[in-house]
Symmetry: C2
Subunit: 230 residues, 2 copies
DNA sequence: TAACCTACCAAACACTTGTTAGGGAACCCG
DNA sequence: CGGGTTCCCTAACAAGTGTTTGGTAGGTTA
């Protein structure tokens, strides 16, 4: 594995820089197609349990043919996860740069997260299951970095919220952060695009539970009681 | 894999029943020790990514020696998960049979869950990551069944709660169920026994967020405002 | 037509995987 | 002492793994 002889330079190109680019140039559209099916299989079976033969099978070709488009199985997850995280942070940065208040920030982040789950369900599922032990490899260091940005963004919003009195003062901030983070992302394990609820609808419900709890508030109690008496 | 010849019957026992019991009898304590380290590795690396050589290494022995105690890698996860689920349901059944009201039931289930996480952190982590694709195999059908009991228990408590007015009437019950279930069990991914918070303490915080939300309620707002003005 | 490029196949290679077979050291029991 | 049991090691096997190599059908270009 470490000393895999770099080949495919048989046409005798410039021998100076050992660029990763192969001499052939697969079409980016086909790459995306294959990555999409690969992501689906990874998400369903788990990364390690998925054989490249299975991916090829799902794509209607043989195992070796995948290596015309990608240079390793690892590169596939890498590309799946990194493109997902790039799009995710594009959305997040927009929210974080909008100068919203803490509560609006939290709401916007949650909503944006569910939109990303809607768009990248498979990638999110992979991220959840595999990021922990993938991030130990230097190649996937960006996973750890992303997690750090994630934490700072959420913790910041929560802290400001507590300071401004829009969030409860008796919250354990770090616990609340993990609570929010987890509740949002685990949805990828059961969410199916095109189902009964739109991402925005699910976000609304989640926010309602997280912000106000599942027990009735004063006003709601009064209103419900009135309704029940009629 | 399908036609692995059943051996180890060379001593010529009664040839009638093909019992799984081997002729040798490893000590149950040693089994538990090995299962504990195996669970730790499974939880950290994932089941498929974990080699039996790695487990043996962690246990200070060689790969083949594990097969004196267990007859397959699959048997190890099986035993880890089933003993965990047995203990879990012992606790759950006690709660469910206590005749509590819906809210007390939910509180007791959550608290019990965190106690189980405290005791079986590794097993819970494995259950989360692997149960989905393990449950497709007939050997692990009990995982699916357990999930069904799980769902009925939670949904029942939630429905009764809504009917009695102790939970909000506008809840999407199934969404709330998944919300509760996930928020509780994902804690196993970051929880470390012996940390700052006891299981009961974490359960209290979680319940506080789930039941009352993270925004201040009327009374709290008033009290906090008073405190801040002093 | 000839040269070339894209996208795949067929077949293998090197390695890792779970698992097995036989043996042997330490210990208990008679 | 001698037989038996417990627990592990050494050494291998067969299947499966990711990956590479060379080839080739079909389309495009000149």
């Amino acid at each position: 594995m470490p000393n895999s002889t770099r080949n495919r330079a048989s046409t005798g190109n410039s021998a100076k820089n050992s660029e990763k680019k192969t001499t052939v140039t697969p079409s980016p559209e086909r790459r995306r197609e294959l990555l999409s099916t690969a992501a689906e299989v990874f998400a369903a079976q788990g990364y390690n349990a998925t054989t490249v033969r299975r991916i090829a099978d799902e794509a209607g070709m043989l195992a070796g043919s995948l290596y015309y488009h990608f240079d390793s199985k690892e590169s596939m997850v890498d590309e799946i996860l990194s493109t997902f995280l790039n799009e995710l942070w594009a959305g997040y940065d927009e929210v974080l740069g909008a100068g919203l208040g803490p509560r609006d920030t939290v709401e916007a982040l949650v909503t944006e997260s569910f939109r990303e789950i809607d768009r990248h369900r498979a990638a999110v599922a992979i991220y959840q299951k595999e990021s922990k032990h993938l991030s130990t490899q230097p190649r996937f260091r960006y996973l750890t970095e992303s997690q750090g940005r994630f934490e700072r963004a959420w913790l910041g919003a929560l802290e400001r919220g507590v300071a401004e009195g829009v969030f409860r003062a008796d919250l354990d901030i770090r616990l609340a952060y993990r609570f929010l983070r987890d509740t949002v992302w685990v949805a990828a394990s059961w969410y199916r695009p095109g189902g009964r609820h739109s991402p925005e609808e699910i976000a609304r419900q989640y926010l309602s539970m997280v912000l106000d709890g599942i027990t009735p508030r004063e006003e709601q109690t009064r209103r419900d009681r009135t309704q029940r008496e009629t």
